[in-house]
């Protein structure tokens, strides 16, 4: 029982990070039809932002805020510099643009700072554990789950209760008609990128806190998992992205925890097979987007 509880907490905290990343990808995709492969680099930039803030001896909460702010700035800059000039281009062109952005940022970090991980020292309380009798749960996992719940809740409020949130949901359906309502396309697109950046920034904080270091490829693996999550959930569906993130996280953690030793090397293959199996059963994803946009 003890390990099951422990693994559930781990699954939720890892799945939560994937969910935040997947939600950011889906938010941007639902509005501009861009599969942003540079999303992982937004996360990496946030990681280096935290590292830099800590080097300047800023207190941890400030460093965390700085990390999220840097991620928002990076996402907005990407939109402004790389994606806005390509607005209206086809999906493939946008995809290749995002590959280019991703590669450029990776190389900048590899050559500008170091290809090796740089350590990050976090406050002791974050790395402590909670003892529940026989079960020990990492504080960071609990904090992660709480942060994910808060971020998802804030996102839901924004989308349901604010005029810009309404405009974003409407733009995912029919962007032209949103413009006919007098709402500026650039604002809606910028908001989508800002949200995706904030979510990637929070994911970066949690990721860095769990691993204690930052490197130029830091964002690549979790964002790859987040891509899988968005497809599993139903491309373009926000709820699906969140659900997909938790499913991918759970599959990964439970396979790691419960597979026999001999099968562990095949963990990734098994987990992808499970996901492909789910997609065969539900080709449009676990929670498909309600409607496909006409452009």
């Amino acid at each position: 029982m003890g390990t099951l509880l422990q693994q559930t907490v781990n699954a939720l905290s890892l799945g939560g990070v994937y969910a935040l990343l997947a939600l950011g990808l889906a938010t941007v995709f639902s509005i501009v039809r861009l599969i942003n492969f540079a999303h992982g680099e937004v996360m990496t930039i946030a990681g280096y932002g935290i590292w830099w803030a800590l080097l300047l001896a800023l207190p941890a909460p400030v460093a965390i805020l700085a990390g999220v702010a840097v991620a928002v700035g990076a996402a907005l800059a990407m939109e402004r510099i790389a994606f806005r000039p390509m607005r209206g281009a086809d999906v493939t062109t946008l995809l290749i643009t995002s590959f280019a952005v991703s590669e450029i940022i990776k190389v900048l970090f590899q050559n500008g700072i170091s290809a090796r991980p740089v350590p990050i020292v976090l406050p002791a309380w974050l790395t402590s554990t909670i003892d529940l009798g026989a079960v020990r749960i990492g504080m960071i996992s609990v904090v992660s789950i709480a942060a994910v719940v808060l971020a998802l809740g804030a996102m839901a409020l924004l989308l349901r209760r604010t005029p810009l949130g309404l405009a974003m949901r409407a733009a995912a359906e029919d962007f032209a008609v949103v413009r006919l309502m007098g709402i500026k396309a650039n604002h809606v697109v910028a908001l989508a990128f800002a949200i995706s950046g904030a979510l990637a920034g929070i994911a970066a904080v949690l990721w860095v806190a769990q691993r204690g270091s930052v490197d130029p490829l830091m964002g690549a693996t979790p964002v790859l998992k987040a891509f899988i999550a968005t497809v599993l959930g139903g491309l373009g569906s926000l709820g699906g992205a969140v659900l997909g993130g938790f499913v991918v996280g759970a599959v990964e953690v439970f396979l790691q925890g419960f597979l026999p030793e001999a099968a562990l090397p095949y963990r990734e293959a098994i987990s992808l097979s499970i996901i492909i199996g789910l997609l065969v059963l539900r080709p449009d994803g676990l929670w498909p987007a309600a409607n496909v946009s006409r452009s």
């Binding site: 005029p163 405009a167 949901r169 359906e173 413009r179 309502m181 007098g182 396309a185």
Partner: protein
């Protein structure tokens, strides 16, 4: 001065020229019917006036101000409202959310709420279904919602693209009654329609398009009586 004055309008999509030098005027408080067969260029004309496609030639004046080539959001803020072809309500948003979005940039929140209440009084079915997803409404109800959504912006020029398309006969009747009523409230309307007799019945002027050019124009009364229109649309 004319509310809308279009001269020499051209719209092209790559090699296809959909509108080829169109002149059109709509006076304040008038209904002008823009008629023509499928593919004549009616939607392209409205799209250019609403800023959804950039004109490849010509000028568009709104109350004398040159607004040629402005983007859709700028024209909407200047008071151009479009009820698009095929209604295009936001299916995943509720009825009330569709309406609030229609007034989002045109009225501060308290005024927006007041307008929402007025729309719900005017269209009781929308009031009853305010919290339902718009995608669940019938075609006629969606058309009412599309019209109410644009009225939330209190436009000074209302463009309507085939609002009666695909509706049951008594619903068509209601839509035309509503359009006539809107004019009596002072709205200026450019109405694209395939239902020629009913459109000319409520319009002040009519313009008939063929292959992107005006083939016939006149007062609604003259057009209703003209042999060309009778032969082509009124069959006997």
């Amino acid at each position: 001065m004319n509310r809308l004055s279009v001269t020499g309008l051209r719209v092209r999509y790559g090699p296809i020229e959909a509108v080829r030098g169109l002149d059109l005027e709509v006076g304040p408080g008038e209904i002008v019917a823009l008629l023509g067969a499928n593919g004549a260029g009616k939607t392209s004309t409205l799209s250019a006036i609403a800023g959804l496609v950039p004109p490849s030639g010509g000028r568009i004046l709104l109350d004398g101000e040159d607004v040629t080539g402005l983007p859709a959001e700028a024209l909407a803020r200047r008071g151009v409202g479009l009820v698009p072809e095929g209604r295009r309500v936001f299916a995943s948003l509720t009825v009330a959310e569709n309406l609030l979005l229609g007034g989002a940039v045109h009225a501060p929140p308290p005024e927006r709420r007041a307008r929402l209440r007025r729309m719900e009084d005017r269209f009781p079915v929308l009031g009853e279904r305010r919290d339902q997803k718009a995608g669940l409404l019938s075609g006629g109800e969606q058309q009412m919602l599309a019209i109410a959504r644009v009225l939330m912006a209190a436009p000074r020029l209302l463009l309507m693209d085939e609002p009666s398309l695909g509706l049951a006969p008594q619903m068509v009747e209601r839509v035309f009654d509503l359009i006539a009523q809107l004019r009596s409230e002072g709205l200026t309307i450019l109405l694209v329609e395939q239902n020629v007799p009913m459109s000319l019945d409520i319009a002040n002027h009519g313009v008939v398009l063929a292959n992107g050019r005006v083939s016939l124009r006149g007062t609604a009364r003259d057009l209703l009586a003209s042999d060309a229109v009778r032969g082509a649309y009124l069959a006997g």
